[in-house]
Assembly symmetry: C2
Homo-oligomer: 412 residues x 2
């Protein structure tokens, strides 16, 4: 067995610090929505780092960046990376860690294997967060050739600018989107913060993702009757909020019945007319339900609808449900998962398998390319917030494991 | 016994039609907030009708209008009326019916009693709805001398205009508010739509109000922890909305336990951050609770707070409650209630006693002056909406009963 590969800790810290300044908001957190000035500035910084690392840099038709270490075998290529865009007021690590970790990993590999067996590329996805356009994993879908160029005219940001206009501002031509498609990729590895509390609470160093949950969003409209809160006897009411309250509790109960890692959450709920002295006439809410097993995901979805409708009937209100989102789960590659576990065991670090309840570029690429993810802990599970935090000493094992796994895949 | 007094049906209909045009909104309904152009236009129309009815018209320091039929005894005066202002997009009858009905009643009385035993005044209250300034029964409180003139500088409308500025635009001097106080009033009668569904559903012609419910509004803040809806296991959540759902059901259950006419309603509820993929961190809601018995009102209020706090504890979230409003109930005058019942029985109409769950000028005046209210049915209980409707043939018995009762009080 070779000596351990050592990633450059100081470089990782300085790159993360540098990225977090780009798009920094006065109130804390950063915002680098796709095709914005901050996004472009971050990509220019990353481009410099890729060049410094001795990699051949290339940008594709949507703005994904690649830094290539040419192997003896030009393909299949091993991709390693994550996304450069952020949510509004996002934290220091979401996406950024996977990009910086990939650069550090490939730098370390190149130092020992100037020409590895397989070609290895850092992949800097242009868009993952839907924080400007709800365009659904734009970078990864482009790479798989799954974007219809007409989509670029369809999506608009909050200012009414189309995604196509935003692309053109950075010299990208929406008609060329199909050129971003690649069929030479043999594996994808992504390092990410967990964005949940499990590793942190359990005191475990690393998570190895075995699947990314399937996701449904179901819009529920509960229509009762708005009445005066003082004059309308209880028995004569059609209180949409009382019925909704029973549904919210039922959604929680449903997820508990299915058990971990099922999720059912009502995060968005709007009451109409929302006046203290008026019995709510209409309530709109969204049920976010997730499961990594497709059959159970579908059963969960069906129960969400069935239980809301039944509660509506018993409360004398009208319930309409519509499925807004139906994303199937993505299993990770068992072979790469096993390989990651081996390299972690070799280092002697603790780890556990996890299901990712959050979406990632890996869930798109993983449908066509053998893919795996490594998680580092998120302090208190915080993410999508300036409170997002993982101490450097908990970050480094993740980058190290990523480097070890890519080295095994690419150089042996 | 005298012949029946007959009110002028055509006049009532034309006055109601005329008022509903003043402040009419393009989307339906009228808006005549206090100290607005529409409000003033309505008062000018009413002033004309009072003069046509042969009454001596006077305006007080806040803009309440009075039309007086002088009696043999100058005081105590019998007041009869309601308010001229409306909610936004209000209906045709709320307030307007009580004003128009009072004019029609006093006209009919004057025709038979040019100089009645007691002085009778139509009272057109300048403000009742809080729809521009949350100034809490401005017209009635002024009449009782309960307004501190400094209040006029304190209240602001949505455009930042103070109530004092708004008064000055119509030539009213806030420093003179105390002059509106009257101590010569011996009785107040108010005709109003029920604004609830009881008379309409039960097919009863008239309601005789025995009390106006005491009202509490309790603000409840439920603080859990915002977390990612995908990554956070159920057992690790502090879901403020799940806890709130249990509270909403508990509020309904509490009112049901106390029985009619107790009310407990959650009409306003706001979720933070209100995103489909984020476990709600904070929910704010308001409990509107009402009871006509002060002891039971206070017990209800204490239970609202106690149950929310207990549910919070069992859900591991932090609950803060604060009482925003505490208005005691106002019992109506048993003597005037009995008199109204007698005149209705004499006409042979059906009636029932009711508790008013809504607030009215009568609840302010009734604390110091013997007061009573007559309700006519509201179709489907609709009010504060363009859908507010009572057919003329259901309106007339209310005006007739009002006229009969005022005649009995003032002329015998």
């Amino acid at each position: 067995m070779m000596d351990s590969l050592n990633v450059d800790v100081a470089l990782i810290e300085s790159y993360l610090d540098r990225l977090y300044v780009i798009g920094a908001l006065p109130g804390g957190g950063a915002w680098r929505p796709v095709y914005s000035l901050a996004w472009n500035e971050a990509r220019q910084a990353i481009r410099g780092w890729l060049e410094e690392a001795g990699l051949a840099v290339r940008e594709d038709a949507v703005g994904n960046l690649f830094g290539r270490l040419e192997g003896v075998e030009p393909e299949p290529v091993i991709l390693v990376g994550s996304h450069v865009d952020t949510v509004y007021a996002g934290g220091r690590l979401d996406g950024a860690l996977g990009v910086v970790g990939a650069i550090a990993a490939v730098r370390a590999i190149r130092a020992r294997h100037p020409r590895p067996k397989r070609s290895i590329e850092v992949f800097v996805s242009c868009e993952e967060e839907d924080s400007r356009f709800v365009c659904d994993f734009w970078g990864s879908r482009a790479l798989l050739g799954q974007i219809d160029p007409a989509e670029a005219e369809r999506y608009r940001d909050a200012d009414g600018i189309t995604l196509a206009q935003a692309m053109r501002q950075f010299g990208l031509d929406p008609r060329r989107i199909p050129e971003a498609r690649r069929s030479d990729v043999g594996a994808f590895l992504e390092l990410h913060i967990e964005q949940g509390p499990v590793l942190d609470r359990e005191g475990i160093a690393l998570g190895v993702v075995e699947a990314i949950s399937g996701l449904n969003r179901t819009a529920v409209r509960v229509a009762g009757r708005a009445d005066h809160a003082g004059t309308t006897p209880l028995a004569m009411r059609g209180d949409a909020l009382v019925a909704t309250a029973a549904m919210v509790l039922a959604m929680r109960g449903l997820a508990e019945e299915l058990g971990e890692p099922a999720r059912a959450t009502v995060g968005r709920l709007d009451v109409h007319p929302n006046q203290p002295n008026i019995v709510p006439g209409v309530v709109d809410f969204v049920v976010d339900s997730r499961h990594p097993d497709r059959a159970l995901q579908q059963r969960l979805l069906a129960e969400v609808q069935r239980r809301c409708e039944n509660i509506g009937k018993s409360h004398g209100v009208v319930v309409e449900t519509s499925v807004l989102v139906d994303q199937p789960p993505t299993p990770m590659s068992p072979e790469i998962v096993a390989l990651i576990e081996r390299v972690i065991e070799r280092r002697g670090w603790s780890y556990r398998r996890l299901v990712s309840g959050a979406g990632h570029d890996s869930q798109i690429l993983g449908r066509q390319i053998p893919t795996a993810m490594i998680f580092v802990p998120s302090r208190n599970g915080r993410s999508h917030s300036p409170a997002e935090y993982t101490p450097l000493e908990q970050i480094i094992p993740g980058v190290q494991a990523l480097a070890d796994a890519v080295e095994e895949l690419g150089c042996t």
